[in-house]
Amino acid sequence: MYLYILKRVLSTIPVVVIVVLFVFLMLRLAPGDPAAVIAGDYATAEDVERIREQLGLNDAIPVQMYRWIAQLGSGDLGTAIFSKLPVTTLIGQRLEPTLLLSLTTIVFTVLIAVPLGTLAAYKAGSWIDRFVMLFSVAGFSVPVFVLGYILIYVLAMQLQILPVQGYKSPFEHGFWVFLRHMVLPTMTLSVIYIALIARMTRASVQEILQEDYVRTARAKGQREFKILMRHALRNAAVPIVTVIGLGIALMIGGVVVTESVYNIPGLGRLVLDAVLARDYPVIQGLILFFSFVYILINLLIDLSYTFFDPRIRY
């Protein structure tokens, strides 16, 4: 197992290097740079050029790349051009909201989607199954921000039972205040993942329910609930867990719309702001961070297979 983990970690190094270099080059080759944004709307061309020189943006790309790699080698992700804060500080400020939003979303999603998908598979062809499929299509089709606005309008503005926006840390404001502020963003973000995971669960469980050992279990008088839980769901878990893991990874870096609608200062918004402002060190540092997160999550998913399927050993 440990050897497997070590091999996996080593194999990701070239992947990370390629991703990072690709992003570095794409940033430098894309139009726009931070100098003009820094200078402000009413600066002169000379001001912009002076700032470009100061930031080293006129240096050859290989020179800029070498400078950055040397910095990375000393464990420094760099300093944001605009705020002059270390990139690690910026990530640290934004990590908790994104992490907790992703966690609450995935917990809520799994609690809803897995039973729903299992039920749909068990009652395949029935109105329950059709409802789950309809919900799945709707969940993929409705844009996140539209759903967000609707939930805000109904639950926050009309019924006034939840706040409109914002993030409150559980460590500063208490668990219940945190939870109140998380309800709407969690509901908004989870719809699409419920749709995805319910559908995946339904397909997996339905396939398992056709297997011989399930027929045998029924023939031996095993109760349906136990058949579903012990035989069907457990054997269907591997693809479901895979999708759940990918969902978490996507959420870490991709919840910018939800964070924008609910005004949550998370990593998604940090990426968007950095891209619009061309804050190169922040963008590069974030991409590197996300790469490591994806690698870690994928590794944990693979390791979790051994729990669900004893036939899988590394």
Partner: protein
């Protein structure tokens, strides 16, 4: 066993409740008054001399003070200065600081701090550069006295050091002002009514200011940037909202007190809310510009520029970008209408707004079908609309037009290029200036010097002569005559299309009081009941 279980369960429930209720209580208890604001932009950097960004300027007003400041009639008034004298020849100015001025770290504000601050500002600001071009020496005679000796008369001394918008000559401690003007400061000690809480700053999200208890406000009532800056709340929190609809909802739900720039299409909803007031707070508004690149064909030909301007009907731009007419008005002066230099000289060109007349004018020029590249910033709705309207009008008069969509960041990089279009250059971009920034000919937007001017690089020696003379003028009559001359030249050379004057509303809860009418948003004098 059962008893133990019950006890354990009850304890767990009690603990959970205490954590939750404790958490709720901690957020509900308000021992201090807080003004919660949605600013118009994210505060990305903190040095208002290093950048011209308006949000940084607004940040500067929170934590710094100025020697002079503009009142609501745009007359400079003493702020940190107690009194001042001018020699008979107008070449020696002596400023005496008010007593009791302190920096946020407790040290006294001295004349040496102010001299260093002015010098740093003078290296970056256009008006400052003009002023320092006329300064022979600037010294601190003693701890409270600044002496400015001019080598030649300069009629805008107080207007320069009291300017209201970027770059504002904010006063900083000498150790901070010693920072190279082309590097960012990293010490945010000021002497203004609020203190910046750097540890609580989350770039892209939150900025926190606390009241500076040792600030000594002037006795006069607040008037625009001048007068008594009384911090009536203990804390001001800026929370940047990337989503306008959520910002509006947060305001209506009472989670936010003040929304600096709601977009115009939200106004009907805000107007209908009984707990919210939405109004125009900036008397000068903003002036839309359609800026030509004077270096490249076809707009290197003055007649082509003037023909294009003839097609630009202000009502079409303003209605197209802002809708409801209560948010805009036409204005055919290069200076904001309603200000002392507003005039009609040469403005018939801009009043034309007639496609047929413009078509005929273009046909009489040397225009040969060279494509016109318009940069369209799709992430700024008003400028995106301006771009499309200009494209349509130029096509209507017979020009070949290519609209290139991009984000604002790309546009700001590209507009700095003087290269041919094929190498990344451009022909037209659109923008706006706040009225306060183009209130007189010294604005860089009106420069006729391509080597030191603004993007577009018009060239006109007569224009520059008039601007230089304006800087030396001392009476309003002289300034108005020179202002008219500057305008005449700007229209004569077709420097830019002026797309009219538009006004951005503010919105706030009805329990917020003390809003100051001004082109710049200030947060002193404001309280939350």
């Amino acid at each position: 066993m059962l008893k133990w279980f019950k006890l354990r369960t009850l304890s767990a429930i009690a603990f959970a409740l205490s954590v939750g209720l404790g958490g709720m209580a901690s957020t509900d208890a308000r021992a201090e008054s807080v003004l919660k604001v949605i600013p118009h932009a994210d505060l990305k950097n903190l040095d208002p001399i290093w950048t011209t960004a308006y949000i940084t300027r607004n940040h500067g007003y929170m934590i710094y003070d100025t020697l002079f400041a503009m009142d609501e009639s745009f007359t400079p008034q003493p702020q940190m200065v107690e009194d001042w004298t001018t020699s008979e020849d107008g070449l020696t100015w002596t400023f005496n600081l008010r007593a009791g001025l302190k920096w946020h770290d407790g040290a006294d504000v001295t004349a040496a701090d102010c001299v260093a601050s002015l010098e740093r500002w003078g290296k970056r600001d256009g008006m400052g550069q003009q002023l320092f071009g006329a300064i022979e020496s600037l010294t601190a005679e003693d701890a409270d006295t600044i002496v400015m000796k001019l080598s030649e008369p300069f009629g805008l001394v107080l207007e320069s050091i009291g300017k209201i918008s970027s770059n504002v000559p904010f006063m900083m401690p000498a150790r901070v002002a010693a920072t190279d003007a082309f590097e960012q400061i990293d010490d945010y000690t000021g002497s203004g009514p609020f203190v910046f809480q750097k540890d609580e700053w989350v770039p892209g999200s939150t900025v926190v200011y606390t009241k500076f208890d040792d600030y000594v406000p002037r006795a006069e009532p607040a008037s625009a940037a001048s007068g008594g800056k009384i911090a009536k709340v203990d804390k001001v929190i800026w929370t940047y909202f990337p989503d306008q609809t959520t910002a509006m909802n947060a305001l209506m739900a009472g989670e936010i007190d003040f929304f600096e720039q709601p977009s115009n299409d939200l106004m009907p909803i805000l107007d209908a809310n009984p707990d919210v007031t939405a109004e125009i707070n900036d008397p000068l508004g903003n002036i839309g510009f359609s800026r030509f690149n004077h270096l490249l064909p076809p707009f290197d030909d003055v007649d082509v520029r003037r023909a294009a301007i003839m097609a630009m009907k202000q009502e079409d731009y303003l209605a197209g970008a802002f809708g409801d007419q209560k948010f805009w008005k036409t204005c055919y002066s290069v200076f904001p209408c309603g200000t002392p230099l507003t005039n009609d000289v040469g403005s018939d060109l801009m009043r034309t707004g007639d496609i047929e007349a413009a078509k005929a004018a273009l046909a009489a020029t040397s225009y040969d079908g060279t494509p016109v590249v318009i940069m369209q910033p799709t992430d700024i709705p008003a400028l995106s609309a301006f771009s499309l309207i200009t494209a349509e009008k130029l096509r209507d008069i017979g020009m070949t037009v290519e609209v290139q969509a991009m984000d604002w960041s790309t546009l700001t990089s590209r507009r700095a290029l003087r290269d041919p279009v094929a190498d990344g250059g451009w022909n037209i971009f659109h923008t706006w200036w706040i009225g306060a920034d183009v209130i007189d000919p010294m604005a860089i937007a009106f420069s006729g010097n391509p080597d030191a001017g603004w993007f577009g690089w018009p060239t006109d020696a007569e224009l520059e002569t008039a601007r230089t003379a304006f800087a030396k003028a001392s009476t309003l009559d002289e300034k108005q005559k020179l202002g008219a001359k500057v305008q005449e030249r700007l229209w004569a050379i077709g420097a830019s299309g002026q797309l009219g004057q538009f006004f951005t509303p503010v919105a706030y809860r009805n329990n917020v009081e003390g809003l100051i009418k001004s082109p710049v948003q200030f947060f002193w004098n404001m309280s939350v009941e």
